[in-house]
């Protein structure tokens, strides 16, 4: 699953001036802290603020990259599900149309997440191999419902841990699409499009893995 990259370490940020200067114009919370701490350092001496600089750096890139790589794995899974598994089954009508549309949109998410991870100086995870237990249109749709609803909970659960406001905006933009997919699939199945009622429950990483993990074959 998420791999730790060199940029996870605060030291790497300091060694690499390009990364240390990432979004110094105030797009991330940590760069705000960093800028404030460095400004204070000019007044009070570098030694006094060093602990705060380290703390700021520990909160940046690394955590976001790990979360984004987790999301990327889920998006790879969804893309494969719609484009490969969906194509292998004789889907008809609306199910076929959704598989085509959603597969293309999930692939766009894969491309976007890959780009953002690289922008943060991280290394995108490789696409795993997947196995989908679906052999008919109905089992395909049932699994689609699980995957999309899990996707919503995964993004909602991880979003508050993101340090960068830009990454948060991207995650929000994607989770809204997952929610739309989930609603459409659930309606097609004759189920409620709002399975959690008025508030979508956030999921922890462990809860997401319990649903998606068995489909990942390394």
């Amino acid at each position: 699953m998420p791999t730790n990259t060199a940029t996870d370490s605060p030291e790497e940020h300091v060694r690499n001036p390009a990364l240390a200067g990432f979004e110094v114009h105030g797009m991330t919370r940590s760069s705000f802290i960093l800028r404030g701490a460095l400004a204070a350092g000019a007044f009070y001496g570098t030694a006094a603020v060093t602990p705060f600089v380290s703390q700021a750096l520990a909160q940046t890139g690394g955590g976001d990259v790990e979360i984004l790589n987790f999301a990327l794995t889920l998006e790879y899974l969804e893309t494969d599900f719609y484009t490969v598994k969906g194509k292998s089954l004789a889907l008809s009508g609306q199910a076929k149309a959704y598989a085509r549309q959603f597969g293309a949109e999930e692939a766009d998410h894969v491309a976007a997440l890959t780009t953002v991870i690289k922008q943060l100086g991280g290394k995108p995870v490789a696409k795993p191999r997947f196995v989908f237990p679906a052999s008919s249109e109905s089992s395909f749709l049932a699994l689609a419902s699980v995957l999309e609803n899990t996707g919503v909970g995964a993004y909602n659960g991880a979003a508050t841990a993101l340090a960068s406001k830009q990454v948060l905006a991207a995650a929000g933009s994607i989770v809204q699409i997952e929610a739309r997919h989930a609603a459409a699939i659930d309606l097609l199945l004759g189920k409620s499009p709002t399975p959690s009622g008025g508030f979508d429950a956030p999921l922890t990483k462990a809860q997401v893995l319990a649903k998606a993990g068995p489909l990942i074959k390394g």
């Binding site: 105030g26 919370r29 705000f32 802290i33 404030g36 701490a37 400004a39 204070a40 007044f43 009070y44 006094a48 603020v49 602990p51 705060f52 703390q55 700021a56 909160q59 549309q101 293309a104 949109e105 999930e106 766009d108 998410h109 976007a112 919503v152 993004y155 909602n156 979003a159 508050t160 406001k165 830009q166 948060l168 905006a169 991207a170 929000g172 933009s173 994607i174 989770v175 809204q176 699409i177 997952e178 929610a179 739309r180 997919h181 989930a182 609603a183 459409a184 309606l187 409620s192 499009p193 709002t194 959690s196 009622g197 008025g198 508030f199 979508d200 429950a201 956030p202």
Partner: protein
């Protein structure tokens, strides 16, 4: 999960009495008055910049002395930076509350007009109940932050026939989803953010459901939903204020 907003929110900001009072109905006034709106948006921008100091202090944790040191460079830009962080969240919550009041009122009128039955009628009923639960939750969240919840605005909606109403509902829900998305980055408190996200994706589910009913795209923005800023949203809901 009945309402994530009524849980125990840990406030990083000041105690309620430190916050400037939030006049009830401020968002509604903003909707009605263009000049007020421009003034408010300018103010909100200032609050965003001022929250820098508040965040430094929160991030530095228990070490008060060092926190003050780190925040010092920012102090020149604001005299009450930590209060601004909370005020910013209260303003956003009241903005969301006003939108939820409008959505709830809309579905109330739709249900009263008795235009839908069967499965669609049940969905409209669900959506009405869910918007009402958002109102309850947002009011509780505003009060938890020491703010005054925005007053319920007087609303009016064109209710003609099932097709027209479903189309309007589709527009309103898409607007709601983009309004929440537009605020995500401005929210300071992690608890408030979590709650806003929990509502955001439900608005998206409503929008998609209505898209299937009116045979319009369930993802009108494509693979990436677009945010809408406060000014755009307030202008869009203006026709619905009585």
């Amino acid at each position: 999960m009945s309402s994530p907003l009524t849980g125990d929110a840990k406030m990083a900001g000041p105690s309620p009495e430190d916050s400037a009072p939030q006049p009830a109905g401020i968002v509604e006034r903003l909707v009605r008055d263009d000049l007020d709106r421009k003034r408010f948006l300018r103010m909100a921008g200032g609050a965003g910049a001022a929250s820098f100091g508040a965040f430094v202090m929160a991030a530095c944790g228990s070490s008060k002395k060092a926190a003050t040191t780190a925040a010092a460079p920012a102090a020149t830009s604001s005299s009450s930076s930590s209060a601004s962080a909370t005020n910013g969240d209260v303003a956003i919550l009241n903005y969301a509350l006003t939108l939820e009041y409008l959505e709830t009122a809309f579905y109330e009128r739709v249900l009263a007009a008795n235009l839908f039955s069967g499965k669609v009628g049940a969905l409209i009923s669900d959506f009405h109940r869910q918007e009402a639960s958002h109102v309850t939750a947002l009011k509780a969240a505003v009060m938890k932050l020491g703010g005054t919840p925005a007053a319920k605005p007087a609303a009016k909606f064109p209710i003609e026939n099932a097709t027209q109403v479903a189309g309007l509902a589709y527009t309103v829900e898409n607007l709601g989803a983009s309004a929440y998305l537009g605020q995500a980055g401005a929210i300071q408190s992690a608890e408030v953010l979590a709650s806003a996200l929990a509502i955001h994706s439900v608005e998206a589910r409503h929008a998609a459901t209505l898209g299937t009913l009116v045979k319009k795209s369930i993802t009108p923005d494509g693979a990436f939903a677009k945010p809408a800023d406060m000014s755009t949203v307030l202008a869009a809901v203006k026709p619905f204020l009585a």
